[in-house]
């Protein structure tokens, strides 16, 4: 009996368990998946929870519900991967050996990386919304906040779903408008990049949103510390931004297990072949989702596209056939722009976000890079699709893993 082990039962791990259980012979392959949590969180929902658009119950379900029969689910923290001996040690000391390993341990926030971020203001006037806890605490804060300087901040790149902080700023604008207190709130977006949009196409198409919503931008801000007493963030060059309420996306890092196992880069992301999803250091280790160091967006939609290609490559690997270097970095994401509208972008390793339509070439229904109500409905529908199709490994009609060029107006990314 051969053993396939999956580490992490989040978006990527769960999809792979579903994809592969039906493809691998039960008499030949034993499958096991390990996660420290019992709850599967719908992380895209953490954007909506603070604004009371989603209820907590809409963003969490039990992990068990999504793991297919015939796959052993172990709830435990993973302590270490011993890649040279094909073994994984769990926190309690149990050892699991494997023939094939899929790492899907994701990325999480590391506020301890920034001086003062976990200081006296943490979850009082300094919040994250990238965790369930942070997002819910922020909801409670916003319900009673009386206004002042709201600073939405990104510590450093890469982060999961890189547009989420901008969406947060847009949704704040509508939230405070609806509460009749927009005039009491000053919204500033602080980013380590040169601006809110750094690619020229997106910048030209989307700058008006910032103007229209009265959102101030502070770019090229590399945070050195949070000063909890003076309520300001300070960058290495000496720039300062004051806040009454700081909503920050701290440094995102891969799991500590990757660091302990010596498998990651300086942010604990695993060096991975960007076309085949095989780890660079070990041929029987594959990586899906946020855990890899691929230069693609860290997003659920990306993990979904990767899953199809990874399934194929794992089957090829087992048969001893050459792997396909097919993954093109395809990502698409909805950007909530507030007031019940959203826009949709679609891009990959080599193409910039484009204008045009998606997913049906030439007809729509979703317009790229343009605000519409339909796109907002698309974003909300994504939650249903996530729970009912994505995790179960059912492919979404008309959406293919590699980017379709039909119906879109392209411009190559210069490299």
């Amino acid at each position: 009996m051969q053993k396939l082990l999956i580490l992490g039962a989040g978006t990527g791990g769960t999809m792979m368990a579903n994809h592969l259980r039906s493809k691998l012979d039960k008499n030949e392959w034993e499958m096991t998946i390990v996660d420290q949590e019992k709850t599967h969180y719908y992380q895209p929902g953490f954007l909506f929870l603070p604004f009371d658009i989603y209820k907590p119950s809409q963003v969490k379900k039990s992990i068990k519900k999504f793991i297919p029969k015939g796959v052993n689910l172990i709830r435990s923290k993973i302590d270490r991967i011993d890649a040279d001996n094909n073994k994984v040690t769990l926190e309690g000391g149990d050892v699991l050996d494997y023939d094939l390993l899929i790492i899907a341990t994701g990325a999480h926030i590391a506020p301890q990386e920034i001086e003062g971020m976990l200081g006296s203001g943490w979850h009082k006037d300094v919040f994250d919304f990238y965790t369930y806890k942070g997002s819910k605490a922020l909801r409670d804060k916003l319900r009673e906040w009386e206004g002042g300087k709201l600073v939405v901040h990104i510590a450093e790149m890469p982060i999961k779903c890189p547009v989420a902080p901008l969406e947060f700023a847009f949704l704040s604008d509508s939230y405070f408008k609806h509460k009749g207190m927009r005039d009491k709130v000053d919204i500033t977006y602080v980013t380590p990049m040169s601006g809110a949009f750094t690619k020229p196409k997106a910048s030209n198409a989307l700058q008006y949103l910032l103007d229209e919503k009265g959102i101030n931008i502070v770019g090229d801000f590399n945070i050195e510390k949070v000063d909890n007493e003076a309520k300001k963030i300070v960058d290495y060059g000496g720039k300062e931004v004051e806040y009454d309420l700081l909503v920050t996306v701290p440094t995102n890092m891969g799991s500590e297990v990757i660091e302990r196992s010596g498998l990651g880069d300086d942010l604990n992301f695993i060096p991975t072949n960007k076309g085949s999803l095989q780890s660079k250091a070990h041929e029987n280790i594959f990586v899906i989702g946020d855990a890899s160091n691929l230069p693609a967006s860290k997003a659920g939609s990306v993990a979904h596209f990767e899953a199809e290609i990874l399934e194929e490559n794992i089957l090829r690997y087992i048969k001893g056939e050459p792997l396909k270097e097919k993954f093109d970095g395809h990502a698409n994401c909805f950007i909530e722009t507030g007031n019940g509208k959203a826009l949709l972008i679609d891009f990959n390793y080599t193409h910039e976000p484009v204008e045009g339509t998606f997913p049906l070439p030439g007809v729509g229904p979703l317009r790229l890079l343009q605000e519409s109500r339909m796109n907002h409905m698309g974003k909300l529908a994504f939650r249903w699709i996530y729970w009912n199709m994505l995790l179960k490994g059912i492919s979404i009609p008309f959406v293919s893993a590699t980017m379709s060029e039909a119906g879109k107006h392209f411009e190559e990314v210069e490299s």
Partner: protein, 102 residues
């Protein structure tokens, strides 16, 4: 776009970043540095070497990586290339400006 730098024609994009790394040389670097208000010292050259090596190895650059490289601390990186050190240093080193998603 073509630009006259250090007496030769160099291909640059509209932000002034070299689009062909093979056209880079030390004179080009010094000229771009001058435009950016930076006078290059040994400390600067060490950082430039490091950035170019990362570029050749296709390692994406970040302020954190530079800070952890042992070549220069983040504080000193800012002192050497004031305001947006990564943007300035990459421009002088002749490599593309680090980009983000949108």
């Amino acid at each position: 776009m073509l630009k006259q730098i250090a007496n030769i024609e160099i291909n640059v994009n509209d932000e002034g970043y070299l689009t062909d790394f093979s056209q880079w040389n030390k004179d080009v670097a010094m000229e771009i540095a001058k435009e950016e208000g930076v006078e290059l010292t040994d400390e600067h050259w060490k950082v430039i070497d490091y950035i170019q090596e990362q570029y050749r190895n296709e390692v994406p650059l970040s302020i954190r990586k530079v800070g952890k490289s042992g070549v220069v601390s983040i504080k000193d990186f800012y002192r050497l290339f004031p305001d947006g050190p990564l943007k300035k240093a990459t421009k002088i080193a002749g490599v593309p400006k680090p980009v983000s998603c949108i």
